[in-house]
């Protein structure tokens, strides 16, 4: 593990990262999902893609990268862009899981790998809508101390700034961003994903001009089981791009 600070809008952010295969010529950057960290990505992908320099990053506010800033997805992308420039990384391949998929898309790499990516707005079920409405009623009655009963599991243990950040990024619609990406994209999905359901994969596949979707058995974290197959697909596709 290593740590490097970048200055973003006059704020110093410490980014914790780890590099494997330091002498490889091509880079693959791994961006984790919301509430996760680089170790989950490393656990899955470290044994594979041996011809690439692996760069595992803790996004600000996660893992060992601290942050008390309220951020939007585009801030995350700009921070990671600064960081990658600083460590002399080329954006050959960026793989993003879930929320990391949105950041990866904004970074506009030569090849984009989206693993159960967020970015397609999924309307909230009626139950959640009612929950939000009833909390707003309570809040207007001055009973906001019951907040913890209403907050999503993803947000419960968050600091105030990360909770704001969570609200900023959770329901963004990235359709335009996917549409304007013009490199090669690989989409990998778990059939039974409930966080970012399979139909959002199909939407992204339609939006991105040059994309391929591969579906596996499993849920939002299916890639932990299929990292080897995903890695092989990435290698083969990247070789084709180089050949062009």
């Amino acid at each position: 593990m290593a740590k490097r600070s970048v200055v973003y809008n006059q704020n110093r952010l410490d980014i914790s990262y780890e590099i494997l295969n330091p002498h490889a010529k091509r880079d693959i950057v791994f961006l984790h999902g919301w509430g996760s960290n680089k170790n989950l990505m490393k656990q899955s992908f470290a044994p594979f893609l041996g011809d690439f320099r692996h760069i595992y990053i803790d996004l600000p506010g996660f893992g060992a990268s601290g942050s008390d800033l309220v951020l939007y997805t585009k801030d995350y992308a700009e921070i990671i862009d600064l960081f990658l420039t600083d460590i002399n990384s080329s954006k050959d391949i960026i793989l993003g899981h879930s929320f990391g998929g949105k950041v990866a898309t904004l970074l506009n790499p030569k090849m984009l790998v989206l693993v159960s990516s967020a970015g397609i707005y999924v309307p909230k079920p009626l139950g959640i809508k009612l929950k939000i409405l009833s909390f707003k009623v309570l809040k207007n009655l001055g009973l906001s101390k019951f907040r913890s009963l209403f907050v999503a599991d993803d947000a419960k243990s968050l600091s105030e700034s990360m909770y704001q950040t969570f609200k900023n990024v959770v329901d963004e619609d990235f359709s335009d961003k996917f549409r304007s990406y013009d490199g090669k994209a690989l989409l990998f999905w778990g059939r039974d994903d409930t966080a970012t359901p399979l139909h959002s994969a199909k939407s992204i596949d339609t939006l991105i001009k040059d994309s391929t979707l591969k579906v596996y058995d499993g849920d939002h974290y299916f890639f932990m089981k299929y990292a080897e197959d995903i890695s092989k697909n990435i290698e083969q596709t990247f070789l084709k791009i180089l050949g062009k």
């Binding site: 593990m1 290593a2 740590k3 490097r4 914790s16 990262y17 590099i19 330091p22 002498h23 460590i87 002399n88």
Partner: protein, 345 residues
């Protein structure tokens, strides 16, 4: 003998300390041991010896065990109607921060608790490798030439490659890397700066002869361990050293001349005297062209370097019987009394 083992601490080497304590429980089975665990929030817990397993701590089970606090001369367990004091000699087995930086030494001295371990001054000079160099300069002991870099000041290194980069203030190879050319430098620095704001850069010498020697002072005499030549693939990384602690068989003596042994012992004694009294330390030396260089001082070596001593239990007993006392000034208010009487009050 009765002995209290104090381990854990808010340190990057917290987990190593747990392994060290478990190893010593096995090595000192003829002792009457008490275990006191310091968690990362600086709370002390009395650990049931039968629960001295790594998972007790990783699962947080220690939190259900009795809480201890400090009082003059003892750790104390306060109950509803009575309290129990633990007054035995303490073995400070907290590696890294807290244990080796002088924090625990100051705490135990302040409460007049007798302990095995480096005192405050000894900790300061051995914990930070920059200060160790100053100490060696003052005591006329050779060290490798080095450069210091700081995280917030950009400076190029002038040593030629390969070099070894270490955080100034850690042991156990954490954050240490070998850099063979400039392309590897930035990542190595980022790795070291994760642990400390200053790093020390030294030439990396391939296949350098390395010897470890441990010892302690008792009855005004230094008692030395055997000299060990550690086996190493380039250098001991964190994992290797970690595994190293728990090794149980005694290591083989290094096959070196009596003359070299004497040289190493002379250097050891020069470092130890008037600073490390009360501690069992291990010094790691390099030998280059017949000259002895100090690499580092481990004032609380992993599992107390027990494997280097022929009779570890008796060695520890001997040391426990010759611990320095922290002198406490006697306040008698003479000055105030004399003024008061001069004023006729």
């Amino acid at each position: 003998m009765k002995l209290t083992i104090l381990f854990g601490g808010a340190s990057f080497e917290h987990e190593i300390s747990i392994v060290s304590a478990i190893t010593l429980k096995e090595k000192l089975s003829n002792f009457n041991l008490t275990f006191i665990f310091c968690d990362q929030d600086h709370s002390f817990y009395l650990i049931d010896p039968s629960k001295m397993k790594a998972t007790t701590f990783s699962k947080g089970e220690h939190k259900k065990m009795p809480n201890l606090s400090l009082t003059n001369g003892a750790f104390v367990q306060k109950g509803m109607f009575s309290s129990t004091e633990y007054k035995d000699v303490v073995l400070n087995l907290i590696h890294g921060g807290d244990g080796e930086d002088g924090t625990v030494a100051a705490l135990l001295d302040f409460f007049s608790i007798k302990y095995i371990g480096p005192r405050v001054n000894a900790s300061v000079f051995s914990y930070d490798k920059r200060y160790t160099k100053w100490l060696c300069d003052a005591k006329n002991i050779k060290t490798l030439k080095s450069e210091i870099l700081y995280s917030d000041i950009h400076k190029d290194i002038t040593l030629s490659y390969p070099v070894i980069i270490k955080p100034s203030s850690l042991g156990s190879s954490i954050g240490v890397s070998i850099v063979r050319d400039e392309s590897e430098l930035d990542y190595a620095l980022d790795t070291a700066f994760e642990f400390d704001s200053s790093v020390i850069v030294e030439p990396f010498i391939e296949n350098v002869k390395e010897y470890n020697l441990a010892g302690f002072m008792a009855d005004d005499k230094i008692h030395f361990s055997i000299v060990e030549e550690p086996h190493k693939d380039e250098f001991l990384d964190f994992e290797k050293k970690y595994m190293d602690f728990s090794r149980s068989e005694q290591v083989l003596k290094a096959d070196i001349s009596d003359e070299l042994i004497l040289k190493l012992q002379t250097n050891f004694e020069r470092i130890y005297r008037d600073l490390f009294e009360g501690a069992l330390i291990r010094c790691d030396f390099f030998v280059i062209d017949g000259e002895v260089y100090l690499n580092e001082i481990n004032p609380i070596p992993g599992s107390m370097a027990n494997y280097l001593f022929e009779d570890f239990s008796s060695s520890l007993e001997l040391l426990a019987d010759s611990l320095p006392h922290a002198k406490r000034v006697k306040v008698n208010y003479e000055y105030i009394h004399s003024i008061a009487s001069a004023k006729g009050k």
